[in-house]
């Protein structure tokens, strides 16, 4: 596990294994998600992998009714909005992700601070399996 380089490619590979993996500074313990090649707190290059539990709370969100082309193709848009947001994990770092299990048509009812739990969403696109991190209310 430690042999994998600390980059986005490795991060995505780990998601495919249903693991949320970021980096931890061996010197000062600062965490980063996705992983960083160096510590941006103490600037030490001594980094290691760290696994995150996937629990946290909703820090901010939006419900998108004007979808980008790739999501419009999946049927999202004016009549079928979707929610994305920022989740602050219990370990103290944040993640941007799709938020499921909430009513995208009633964004005024979605509350910042709601306890969240990570899920892994795997999609097949042109023969390529891709797993992304999503969150739902806990």
């Amino acid at each position: 596990m430690n042999a994998r380089p600390l980059n986005d490619t490795s991060y995505e590979q780990f998601l495919g294994e249903w693991k949320i993996m970021g980096s931890k500074c061996k010197k000062c313990g600062a965490l980063a998600l996705p992983p960083r090649p160096l510590c941006v707190s103490c600037y030490s290059p001594e980094m290691e992998w760290a696994e995150f539990k996937g629990t946290g709370k909703l820090a901010a969100f939006t419900s998108i009714t004007v979808a980008p082309p790739n999501l419009a193709k999946e049927g999202y848009g004016r009549n079928n909005p979707y929610v994305v947001g920022v989740v602050e994990l219990d370990e103290g770092v944040k993640a941007v992700a799709r938020i499921v299990g909430v009513d995208a048509k009633k964004p005024e009812a979605i509350k910042v601070g709601t306890a969240m739990q990570a899920e892994f969403l795997t999609k097949e696109d042109g023969g390529v399996r891709k797993t992304s991190l999503v969150f739902k209310p806990r």
Partner: protein
């Protein structure tokens, strides 16, 4: 560490800005020529364009929007400025604030005395979806992968701000109504109309079609109506978002000691600052822009002025929430207080701290690469007392600011201009 001051003063002695809007039948270099010709005519004592020593032109993505990169030398050729050095600056929606800053630094270094700076963008040749895709290239890849759009990033920041400070959509309405109040006073605005004008247009259309006449109590009632103000990315609705625009802007910069040769009303660069910012997931505070705070600190330190000294300012309002948050990051108001100040009318043209006298990006238009210098053009115009009907009603107007944001906050600048 440097001394954080310019080694030599810099003054603005001329400026030009096209009418902003959608001009599909024109070409992006034509816009720059139009702004340039206005600038030539604006230099009070006249000047020989051959005296221009270098050019800096801001542009976000002519490459994507009109399939043509490396456009700056083509503009220099069009204007007869070859073989002077011409440099493109790219900072997404802050591209031309960077061209201005590079021009200032080049003169301050002593290398040049006279520099042309400006910016342009042509967005109308693409469909709305394509423009959204193009602008999305300036967002963080993590946000794009998660399904965020540009309005979505700002909508997300709005929910963070609302939750932190107890504000709601009313706060956004106040910004939109205020900006549209200034719009009819700006002859270059893309949408020179008030919210009341939009309401009347809609009522008239319903009357002509024999449809039921909408009964809106007031402007806020209109903005609350999803039929006329549909959601884009909660809580951002149509009237929270700036339009797609074409246009160009430019300013003539000269060394301060030469300024009086060009005009008796030079406007001086008091302070300039530029900062970088985090993607959403790495932000410590989702209701503020660290890039703006850094830029403001530099500009205040260089100028010796503080937020209270800045009498009026252009503030980057690509989305309504951005204007509120930046008013706090620039230090004009304490965190969580700007939305209350907007509600109290403080940022109106006749208020104690006029914000976006031009009507802002929401009403004036936002040809992204042209915006930074277009904002500085407004401040320059106001400081010369030449803003016509939208002139800030303060006989002692002396110090103004311009804040520009690129991407979702990755690049921010703040510039303080002054009359002496």
């Amino acid at each position: 560490m440097g001394k954080k001051k310019l080694s030599r003063g810099v003054a603005v002695v001329g400026g030009g800005l096209t009418k902003l809007g959608l001009f599909k039948d024109r070409n992006s270099k034509d816009f720059f020529a139009e702004a340039y010709l206005e600038m030539l005519g604006s230099v009070d004592k006249g000047f020989d364009p051959k005296e221009i020593e270098a050019i800096y032109i801001g542009n976000f993505t002519n490459d994507f929007f009109v399939n043509q990169a490396h456009w700056s030398p083509i503009i220099a050729d069009l204007l007869g400025l070859v073989p002077r050095p011409v440099t493109r600056t790219e900072g997404a929606c802050a591209s031309s604030a960077l061209s201005f800053r590079e021009g200032v630094l080049a003169i301050a270094s002593g290398l040049y005395d006279i520099v042309l700076v400006g910016g342009f963008e042509q967005m109308s040749k693409r469909t709305t979806e394509e423009v959204a895709e193009g602008l999305g290239m300036a967002a963080s890849p993590y946000e794009v992968a998660a399904g965020f759009t540009f309005p979505g990033v700002f909508g997300t920041m709005a929910t963070a701000y609302f939750a932190k400070y107890g504000a709601d959509r009313e706060a956004l309405f106040n910004v939109t109504i205020k900006s549209h109040g200034n719009a009819p006073l700006n002859p270059k605005a893309q949408f020179p109309c008030t919210i009341r004008d939009f309401m009347n247009q809609r009522i008239e259309r319903c009357r002509q079609r024999g449809e039921p006449i909408p009964q809106w109590k007031d402007e806020k009632d209109f903005l609350r109506d999803p039929r006329v103000n549909p959601p884009v990315a909660w809580p951002m609705h149509l009237f929270d978002c700036c339009p797609i625009s074409d246009g160009a802007s430019c300013l003539l910069l000269v060394a301060a000691d030469l300024a009086k040769k060009f005009t008796d009303k030079p406007v001086y660069v008091a302070g300039t600052g530029q900062g970088s910012g985090y993607s959403l997931h790495a932000k410590k505070d989702l209701a503020s822009y660290e890039a703006t705070q850094a830029a403001a600190l530099q500009a205040y330190e260089m100028s010796g002025y503080g937020p209270r000294d800045v009498q009026f300012s252009e503030v980057h309002d690509c989305f309504s929430i951005a204007e509120i948050v930046h008013m706090e990051d620039l230090g004009f108001y304490k965190p969580g207080q700007a939305y209350k100040a907007v509600a109290a009318g403080e940022s109106r043209l006749d208020g104690p701290k006029p914000i976006n006298t031009s009507g802002g990006l929401k009403t004036k238009g936002h040809p992204v690469g042209a915006t930074g210098v277009a904002q500085l053009y407004e401040v320059w115009t106001q400081l010369r007392g030449e803003a016509g009907k939208r002139q800030v009603p303060n006989p002692n107007l002396r110090i103004g600011g311009a804040h520009n944001l690129g991407g979702t906050g990755g690049t921010c600048t703040f510039t303080i201009l002054e009359r002496r």
